[in-house]
């Protein structure tokens, strides 16, 4: 829409609705006051972003900035929203773009380069934009096949460990995964097979997987909470699949809050089926509070923030000095060699692969 028309529309609307009052009440209703002011830094993220209040207060204590968090849907949506609003960004820092979506964000140029303090403590393997510093890695984790320990114990069957195991007849009809077109773990699993079997080989693999009775549902929630027999939700919902594509952090998550802690969690991880997902933060181009944004990105690599993340978001810290909580070390799986793919490669093939995957697996 052209600008003058747009102005006219806006002016009329403002006059009619008394929007100044509306805007004023909108602003004053927010905890932490105006986003534009120097004392607030606005973090734009997805729905899964969580941080302890005490940690955010620590940031305020250290820097004087208050954090205002704005969330918009799942990771994909949040990234798309950030891209669409790049001419007038919603905040100062964006957190939550992962390696599967990174190229789209970078290609659209939504970030300003900034080399965060503390990056020296982050291993190079996580630094996807080490040359440009447009994004800073914050957390990492793996998407892996999870298994229901009780099921395999009851059936006196060894749980699968690798991708090749999953197409063996003894695991026929046991796996539920997510739609790669709509679900982030679903996509990660497809990418993992592409990383493992190559640009064309993955299709062979999926043909076999389909023949072995893989079930596809739309979202992680249905897969994990409804179909997977090992999760709390799945037990109530009488889930019928002992294998599910989920996170390496799901086993510790299942026992968090249990009293007393069990000897062994109900869920295990097939460590040979993992794909690494790293989440990044970046300073938004056009940010109103650049200094505050930089401070926030720095803070996200601090030990305080890094050690808060695991129990808030079920992810692992990227900073080497951060310690994992006990529940992670005790119940979590040690994934030593996850599959990875370069963000550029993902960006190049993603849409085509998803299309091929859909017609291969869903139709």
């Amino acid at each position: 829409m052209n600008t003058s028309l747009r102005r006219a529309v806006v002016a009329t609307a403002v006059a009619t609705l008394g929007l100044p009052a509306l805007a004023a009440c909108g602003g004053s209703g927010d905890k932490g006051g105006e986003a534009s002011g120097g004392k607030t830094v606005t973090l734009v993220s997805h729905d899964s972003f969580v941080a302890s209040d005490s940690v955010l207060q620590e940031f305020t204590r250290q820097t004087g900035y208050k954090v205002k968090v704005v969330k918009g849907g799942d990771a994909g949506q949040a990234v798309n929203q950030a891209i669409l609003s790049k001419s007038h960004p919603q905040g100062d820092v964006f957190f939550g773009v992962d390696n599967t979506l990174l190229s789209r964000a970078l290609d659209n140029g939504i970030f300003t380069p900034y080399e965060a303090k503390g990056l020296d403590r982050v291993p190079k393997e996580f630094q996807a934009d080490a040359a440009g510093h447009r994004v800073t890695p914050v957390d990492t984790g793996e998407i892996c096949v999870n298994y229901d320990r009780a099921y395999f114990a009851d059936h006196k069957l060894d749980p699968p460990k690798t991708f090749d195991d999953l197409i063996k007849p003894e695991y026929k009809g046991l796996l539920v995964t997510e739609n790669a077109a709509t679900s982030s773990p679903g996509l990660a699993f497809q990418l993992a097979t592409a990383a493992k079997y190559g640009d064309d080989g993955w299709k062979d693999y999926w043909t076999k997987l389909k023949a072995n009775g893989v079930e596809v549902v739309d979202g992680w929630e249905q897969a994990y909470n409804e179909r997977f027999s090992g999760s709390a939700g799945g037990k109530k919902a009488k889930g019928d699949k002992p294998l599910v594509v989920s996170y390496a952090s799901s086993p510790p998550a299942e026992v968090v809050g249990a009293k007393p802690l069990p000897k062994e969690g109900p869920i295990g991880v097939a460590t040979g089926t993992c794909f690494r997902q790293t989440e990044f933060a970046g300073l938004l181009k056009g940010a109103k509070n650049t200094e505050g944004g930089k401070a926030l990105v720095d803070f996200m690599l601090s030990r305080t923030f890094q050690e808060d993340m695991p129990l808030q978001m079920y992810v692992k810290p990227v900073s080497q000095d951060a310690k994992l909580p006990e529940v992670f070390t005790r119940y979590g799986a040690q994934v030593t060699d996850p599959q990875t793919l370069a963000p550029e490669k993902i960006a190049k093939n993603r849409d085509q692969w998803v299309k091929e995957w859909s017609s291969l697996v869903l139709k």
């Binding site: 529309v9 704005v70 798309n80 891209i83 979202g219 998550a253 869903l362």
Partner: protein, 581 residues
């Protein structure tokens, strides 16, 4: 035909100018001092028009324009490409036929229910009517997972007969019945209760059998209401999103789902724009048909006080009907809701309040979820109240402007108000993002955006509830007040407001319940981190772990109870003559 219309009304006016002062005189009265009334009406419309302009038309136009232009040039070739894509055609075909099938199935199962709720008296009727409405206002995330307990593996059907319907189209159809049962019961039943039973009795006396009397007298009278209900159900199922996603599995996609994927996941705005326009066309056509049937319904019927028409069931037939309707309600509506409640009490050590206790202490204890449940409930109530206030003001003014029937402009405005019901939430949400990004309209990081988006959905309900009542207010009551010395404003306050007050109350309550359960618009808007109940439920469901799952169920139960309480209050104040819901 259309052109001939004015003459027809004039002929009518000339035919009976003096009888009881009524329609003819009224119409004529409007024509003469037309300018002032037109000005008044325009004044009344200004706020709703501005509201819809800024918070609906402008954002949607922005996102569609963004999709269909490239560097300022229109890319209309895209339209042809999308429309000829066989994949898209499959989606459109599925969307249409599942909506038609869902509508038929809903009518089949809910029409007997409409009769029972309208004409039979039985204990607990009010409570039950509130209960069947709960699914309609529940977010699909919650209701979808509850419904799985009925048709999914390990669900009741599976246990009893080994029948599993999840990921089949039957699950989608049945869930659509679950969601829209109340639409039929309320729209058709509401009218049925007010049809004068003596008309059917008159037909019986004239020699018609029971069935013949029903077919010849009651059915034609109900016809328009059935058509209106059917169209609403069709509209809701045509734009179905959550149900298809959760129950249908990845093989089924409606236009709405496709728009969501193209916009939110793939950032394929051109295709999304074409699909949005396509959906607009279908929805606009539906609304046009709906407006016609509604007009016909208002025009012709003689209605009586609903409380006089209901009786205790008599005879084996009526008892059997009552029993079968109650069975359907129990199986399709109550059972899934009950499963939800049950699961909220299920803990690792058997049944108990563990999940609720976790909710109460969340944020402090386990550290798994930072927003305390009480805050979430508080947020939801605040948002819902704000959304209700906006919806009542905007919808009330719109209804006042629409009170007088005539004029194509007015009818167009009526349909415009309904359009948000048929527009993808993701389109609106993303539209907000790119349209409302400059001061003074930069509300993107303000909490007010959420109630504004919710109000978009609430306004049509307010209009549809209040409008019929306003139209039923006798113009001469206003005239009586004027002759007694009341200015037009005073007359409105003294005459219209008290009569419409109850309808407004009901509309407000309904808008409140709908806002409480609203999920789509809320989740697609970036907003400060004050999650509403449905958003918190979705977030809890999105995390692994016993604790989260139990809390999700507990929060859902709370949401359900709040919705049910709001609806139950409505049942108490139901007037004899309320609108379509």
């Amino acid at each position: 035909m259309v052109l001939a219309r004015p003459e027809v009304t004039e002929a009518e006016a000339a035919g009976a100018p003096d009888v009881t002062g009524a329609p003819a005189a009224r119409q004529a009265a409007e024509r003469a001092p037309g300018a002032r009334r037109a000005a008044t009406r325009l004044g009344l419309m200004a706020v709703p028009l501005a509201f819809f302009g800024v918070f609906f038309a402008y954002p949607v136009a922005s996102i569609v324009t963004r999709g269909l232009t490239d560097g300022g040039r229109w890319q209309l070739a895209r339209v042809g490409e999308v429309l000829t894509d066989p994949g898209i055609r499959d989606v459109l075909w599925f969307t249409l036929w599942q909506a038609a099938a869902s509508t038929a199935l809903t009518l089949l199962l809910a029409l007997p229910g409409a009769y029972v709720f309208a004409r039979l008296d039985f204990p607990g009727k009010r409570l039950l009517r509130a209960v069947v409405t709960v699914p309609f206002v529940l977010p699909t995330v919650v209701a979808g997972s509850a419904f799985l307990a009925l048709v999914g593996r390990g669900g009741l059907l599976d246990e009893l007969w080994g029948v599993r319907l999840d990921t089949t189209v039957w699950a989608i159809l049945l869930a659509h019945v679950f969601f829209n049962y109340a639409v039929v019961v309320r729209t058709v039943g509401g009218l049925w209760a007010q049809l004068d039973p003596r008309q059917e009795e008159a037909a019986r006396v004239l020699g018609a059998g029971r069935l013949a009397a029903w077919r010849r007298v009651t059915l034609p009278a109900l016809g328009p209401a059935v058509a209106a209900a059917a169209l609403m159900v069709f509209l809701f199922t045509f734009t179905s999103f959550g149900v298809v996603q959760i129950l249908g599995g990845p093989r089924y996609a409606t236009l709405e789902v496709e728009i969501y994927q193209r916009t939110a996941q793939l950032l394929d705005l051109p295709t999304a724009a074409v699909l949005t326009l396509l959906q607009f066309v279908v929805v606009a056509a539906l609304l046009a048909v709906h407006a016609r049937t509604v007009r016909r319904r208002e025009a012709t019927l003689r209605l009586v006080d609903a409380s006089r028409t209901a009786r205790r069931p008599r005879g084996a037939g009526q008892w059997a009907l009552l029993a079968s309707v109650l069975a359907v309600v129990a199986l399709l509506v109550v059972l899934p809701l009950a499963v939800l409640v049950l699961r909220s009490f299920e803990g690792p050590d058997g049944y108990g309040l563990a999940s609720y206790r976790a909710l109460a202490s969340a944020g402090a204890g386990g550290g798994t979820f930072t927003v305390a449940a009480l805050d979430t409930i508080g947020n939801s109530l605040t948002y819902a109240l704000a959304a209700t206030a906006i919806a009542v003001v905007v919808g009330g003014l719109a209804a006042a402007a629409l009170t007088r029937r005539e004029g194509r402009l007015v009818r167009g405005f009526d349909a415009l108000l309904m359009l948000p019901l048929g527009t993808s939430a993701v389109t609106v949400g993303f539209g907000f993002l790119i349209a409302l990004d400059e001061p003074p309209l930069d509300l993107r990081t303000s909490w007010i955006l959420v109630p504004l988006a919710q109000a978009l959905v609430g306004v049509p309900f307010v209009v549809r509830t209040v409008l019929p009542v306003l139209r039923a207010v006798d113009t001469r009551l206003r005239e009586a007040a004027a002759v007694l010395g009341a200015s037009p404003l005073r007359a409105w306050r003294e005459v219209d407001l008290p009569l419409v007050g109850r309808a407004l109350g009901i509309a407000a309550g309904f808008a409140f319940a709908v806002s409480l359960g609203e999920f789509g618009a809320t989740v697609f808007i970036a907003r400060p981190d004050n999650p509403t109940l449905p958003v918190a439920v979705a977030r809890l469901l999105g995390r692994p772990g016993e604790l989260n799952y139990g809390q999700a169920m507990a929060l859902s139960t709370i949401l359900m109870l709040v919705c049910a309480a709001a609806l139950l209050v409505l049942e108490r104040v139901r007037t004899d003559r309320t609108g379509e819901f």
